[in-house]
């Protein structure tokens, strides 16, 4: 019997189309994962070099020219180390904690638009999706601290989850202004709306939100000066004290992916994503030939540099002081920003 008799040509076409779509998405996933992980590896290298030079030393120099292969050496070392599990640990939970953490961070890469029309899943509630996944990441931290059956890890887990939850609120509120201006939760739409606005990037009209977001982003990723959960002088290494080998590597990767994510989110919501402000293009018209992803990556790395810069500069907050900043300063300021944005929007509507 002929196959064509059973399946009509139109169905075949539809199937082929579906297959191509799936293939494209898979290809995108592979590209994003490969490049994302490579960036994570080199983000550590970049960090060590930047901090090294800030501290009048050289950073990694031994593996490869200028230590360029150091991230791979570290990775190989971590993956071949002995995997130690504490005797009294809750084994199953101990196993899945880093996986939850890592997965929650990586999933977010799927909604990040790296360039116009280059995003794995262009969903309507992109921003909310990121928040939801950040909320899931807390579980990885929390149950890893609990499952290790160590008091340091436990306290680190408690601190960290309290920190992430409270700063998530501030961060969410700081982005509400952006949503109001863009009128959408779709990340690509936000970028487009920004590119078309008179300021070119929302960091200028939304500067209050921008400042709140930057602080909250640093806190959300547990970086100095808010690295309390892993404050090595108090809690040794915080929630992953008992982890070793590639489970530790998973946490490490997850943390850096979270950093990439925060930097991307900042780029998308405040710095204009892959677009350049129109006034810049007017002065340097040739810049429009540069692919958008270059600008995106540059902005992300600028934000990274900022991360490293503050790490090399400031001491660490105490836990209660830090919570006070979140609840008593950032959240009220962010709410004020929302009111202000709404007010300005109404006034402008009336004027125009």
């Amino acid at each position: 019997m002929n196959m064509a008799n059973v399946i009509s040509p139109s169905t075949v076409d539809a199937l082929i189309k579906f297959g191509i779509d799936v293939a494209i998405i898979l290809l995108k996933i592979v590209i994003v994962l490969a490049i994302g992980l490579l960036h994570v590896a080199y983000a550590t290298y970049f960090e060590r070099k930047v901090i090294g030079h800030m501290q009048v030393r050289l950073g990694p120099m031994r593996v490869g020219p200028h230590g360029l292969l150091q991230p791979f050496a570290d990775g190989i070392k971590l993956f071949f180390k002995e995997d130690i599990i504490p005797a009294q640990a809750d084994k199953v939970v101990f196993y899945i904690a880093p996986i939850i953490f890592m997965a929650a961070a990586m999933v977010n890469l799927s909604v990040i638009p790296f360039d116009a029309n280059f995003v794995i899943a262009d969903i309507n509630v992109g921003l909310l999706f990121i928040f939801a996944m950040a909320g899931i990441g807390v579980y990885g931290i929390f149950i890893s601290g609990w499952a290790s059956n160590s008091k340091y890890a436990f306290m680190g887990g408690l601190r960290s989850s309290a920190q992430v939850i409270s700063y998530e609120i501030a961060m969410g509120l700081s982005l509400v202004g952006v949503m109001m201006m863009a009128g959408s939760l779709n990340l690509s739409d936000i970028i487009r709306a920004q590119g078309e606005s008179i300021f070119g990037m929302y960091a200028i009209p939304q500067f209050i939100g921008f400042i709140v977001f930057v602080i909250a982003a640093v806190a959300e990723t547990n970086r100095t000066p808010f690295d309390l959960p892993e404050a090595e002088s108090e809690l040794v290494a915080g929630y992953f004290t008992e982890y070793s080998s590639f489970r530790f590597a998973l946490f490490f990767l997850g943390e850096y992916i979270a950093m990439i994510l925060m930097a991307s989110l900042c780029t998308i919501c405040f710095l204009g994503g892959w677009t350049l402000p129109w006034y810049v293009l007017k002065i340097f018209p040739f810049l429009s030939y540069v692919p958008g992803v270059v600008w995106f990556v540059l902005k992300v790395y600028a934000f990274f540099f900022f991360y490293y810069w503050i790490r090399a500069t400031v001491p660490r907050y105490r836990y209660d002081q830090f919570m006070a900043i979140g609840w008593k300063i950032l959240i009220p300021v962010a709410i004020g920003n929302i009111l202000l944005t709404g007010l300005v929007k109404i006034i402008l509507k009336e004027v125009l």
């Binding site: 509630v125 999706f129 928040f131 939801a132 609990w146 408690l158």
Partner: protein, 170 residues
């Protein structure tokens, strides 16, 4: 076809996960099963074209409320609490009540009728996006219930703070 298959999977998984949640001895494991349960509920919302609801479900329930559960559970000394044994001694009574409730619900299920669709049809929502539709409704038609609800939440929050403060002083 496909969507029905997914629905059956989600519905079934939700039932099984709920049972797992209430039967686990270790509260932390219960909480983790509950996390998975919330994801499945969010999945159901997605099939109803309610992405916003799905996202909010995960953010509020999984990201907020469940974490608070976890806080409470973790701060207890599990090893000792577990040795206490059963928390309740009213097993048969509880079971009877649950059965009665189940019968009542299943009997009344057939009497449910779909509400009139109103102006917010699926097409309109798709065109206007979920969030805008929801926002418009909440802030125009249902502004009073919305404000009352927020007031109640505020009272609860202030109450919690007052209670905590009093304990701090003593």
């Amino acid at each position: 076809m496909v969507s029905i298959g997914f629905f059956i999977y989600f519905a079934f998984a939700i039932v099984v996960l709920s049972l797992l949640v209430v039967t686990r001895k270790n509260p932390v494991h219960s909480v983790l099963w509950m996390l998975l349960l919330f994801f499945h509920i969010a999945g159901l919302y997605l099939f109803l074209n309610a992405e916003f609801m799905a996202a909010i479900q995960v953010i509020v329930y999984a990201g907020g409320i469940l974490v608070l559960f976890l806080f409470v559970v973790l701060l207890m000394n599990l090893r000792e609490e577990l040795s206490i044994g059963k928390y309740t001694t009213f097993g048969p009574t509880g079971f009877t009540f649950a059965l009665g409730l189940f019968v009542a619900v299943s009997m009344s299920l057939s009497s449910f009728i779909a509400a009139p669709p109103g102006k917010y049809s699926i097409d309109l929502i798709k065109q206007e996006t979920h969030i805008k539709a929801l926002g418009k409704l909440l802030y125009t038609e249902f502004i009073y219930p919305f404000e009352v609800a927020s007031l109640i939440l505020l009272v609860a929050m202030i109450g919690a703070i007052v209670l905590a403060k009093r304990r701090l002083k003593s």
